[in-house]
């Protein structure tokens, strides 16, 4: 596990150095230019990807000639909880992205049942960085080689006392991941596979590490989408999660989504999402809605 993290860390550093000559020689750089849906959408952690998974695609509408950006608002309604994520990101030369997201997990009436108080909310700030290592998911149509990116997400949860009380080791943590994304245009398919080293409990809303398992584990994220048109994609996602806390079992997450590019800048994602059991409340299946603007 340590090796995987070390490898991911050194890849981020190496890729950052690779990107630097590009920054220096980029003349005439411009805003925008990327094709519809090729920036992906913003995921639950504010990074460019699907809804649950983080993809290798770089956020923002820019090409290798310029910079781009993205803003997103995501709402997840579950039987016993509600989550909201507001995110923003900058993409640099289709090489790197930096994202910041404010995520809140509202326990609503469930908060009282958990002894936390009605409307108790966990807030989390997520700062992410991603670097494209090699490959071009869109244009390398004559090669099997996917676009591969490495990244890290630093998450800080504001409920230190509570997450420690439920058994978590820490209220902050860093995820490291390597993502491979391929668009098979002749099949109208978008495929992604991501490996994440993480200690996060329920994406970090319940802290990091726990009484059952304190260390990093490797988790898998997979997405498959079918492009019905250049503006509409239908797909499904899977994301495994660690099971670190003794008081409640944590399950893998699934979704079925539709992403639609309303205009070149604005896209909406609607999904049916199954997050499994969360903090002893079973079968958290609900609706995921996300609106984003890229420029």
């Amino acid at each position: 596990m340590k090796l995987l993290i070390l490898a991911a860390k050194s890849m981020v550093a190496a890729a950052a150095m690779l990107a630097l000559p590009g920054l220096a020689s980029a003349h005439e750089w411009a805003w925008g230019g990327k094709l519809d849906l090729t920036r992906g959408v913003a995921n639950v952690e504010g990074a460019g990807g699907g809804g649950l998974a983080t993809w290798a695609l770089i956020t923002g509408n820019e090409t290798t000639d310029g910079v781009g950006g993205e803003l997103s608002a995501t709402y997840v309604s579950l039987p016993d909880y509600t989550a909201r994520v507001f995110g923003g990101g900058v993409g640099l030369f289709d090489r790197a992205e930096i994202t910041v997201a404010e995520a809140s997990f509202d326990t609503g009436a469930t908060g009282a049942k958990l002894g936390l108080g009605k409307g108790f909310t966990f807030d989390q700030t997520i700062v992410g960085a991603k670097v494209r290592l090699f490959g071009d998911a869109v244009y390398d149509q004559d090669r099997w080689l996917p676009q591969v990116s490495a990244g890290a997400q630093y998450k800080v949860n504001d409920q230190r006392t509570i997450v420690r009380a439920v058994g978590a080791d820490d209220s902050q943590g860093v995820d490291y991941y390597v993502a491979a994304t391929k668009i098979l245009l002749d099949q109208s398919l978008v495929l992604d596979a991501t490996v994440r080293a993480t200690r996060a409990n329920q994406f970090g809303f319940l802290g990091f590490g726990g009484d059952k398992n304190g260390g990093y584990t490797a988790q898998f994220e997979g997405s498959a989408a079918y492009l019905l048109t250049s503006k509409l994609a239908l797909g499904g996602e899977y994301r495994s999660k660690p099971d670190n806390l003794g008081f409640a079992r944590e399950d893998a997450a699934f979704d079925l989504f539709a992403a639609y590019a309303v205009t070149h800048a604005v896209s909406v994602t609607a999904a049916y999402v199954d997050l499994g059991d969360i903090a002893t409340f079973r079968k958290q299946r609900g609706v995921y809605l996300s609106l984003q603007a890229g420029f």
Partner: protein
């Protein structure tokens, strides 16, 4: 008085030879096109393997459909400020003919490509990544207007996509 008439005679003969030579060269340049520096013609210049069968050629509605798609795409290329500069000095008659040939040949139609290779054709044009994306957009619009099904559009784009590596960034390397 003899000298000037000889001179005029010589000039006349010279002009005649020049005319004949020009007509000769003109035979190799299709009407309405400007001459280009010589190059070896080959289907390999189309820079991709054609689709097997004629499904794609039919999906684009044959030669007539390809002609409309190329016309619409080039109209958009010339009118879009993002791409207009690239084509400022282009020979549109020749460009139209060679593009139609390339589309026809690559979709499995009964054509040969007589144009230049992708590297030679785009040398010093300074096509940037965002320009290439704009060109793709224009091609998508043109195929939409022609009523080409999305799946077939995507297949054709997959065929053209790898050319980005050759066409873009030439002067930077």
């Amino acid at each position: 008085m003899k000298t000037p008439s000889l001179l005029i005679g010589a000039l006349l003969i010279g002009a005649l030879i020049a005319l004949v030579t020009a007509a000769d060269a003109g035979a190799q340049v299709p009407p309405g096109e400007q001459p280009v520096k010589p190059y070896v013609q080959s289907d390999a210049n189309a820079a991709a393997e054609p689709f097997a069968g004629d499904h794609m050629f039919k999906a684009l509605h044959g030669l007539a459909g390809i002609d409309r798609i190329v016309t619409r795409m080039m109209d958009e290329n010339r009118n879009d400020p993002r791409t207009a500069d690239i084509f400022r000095a282009a020979d549109f008659v020749r460009l139209h003919r060679t593009l139609v040939e390339q589309f026809c040949y690559l979709t499995g139609g009964p054509c040969h490509y007589s144009g230049m290779g992708m590297k030679e054709a785009h040398e010093h044009m300074g096509v940037q990544a965002k320009d290439f994306d704009a060109l793709v957009e224009h091609l998508e619009h043109a195929m939409d207007k022609e009523g080409v099904p999305f799946r077939d559009q995507a297949k054709l784009l997959a065929k053209f996509a790898p050319m980005k590596r050759i066409i873009v960034d030439q002067d930077r390397n």
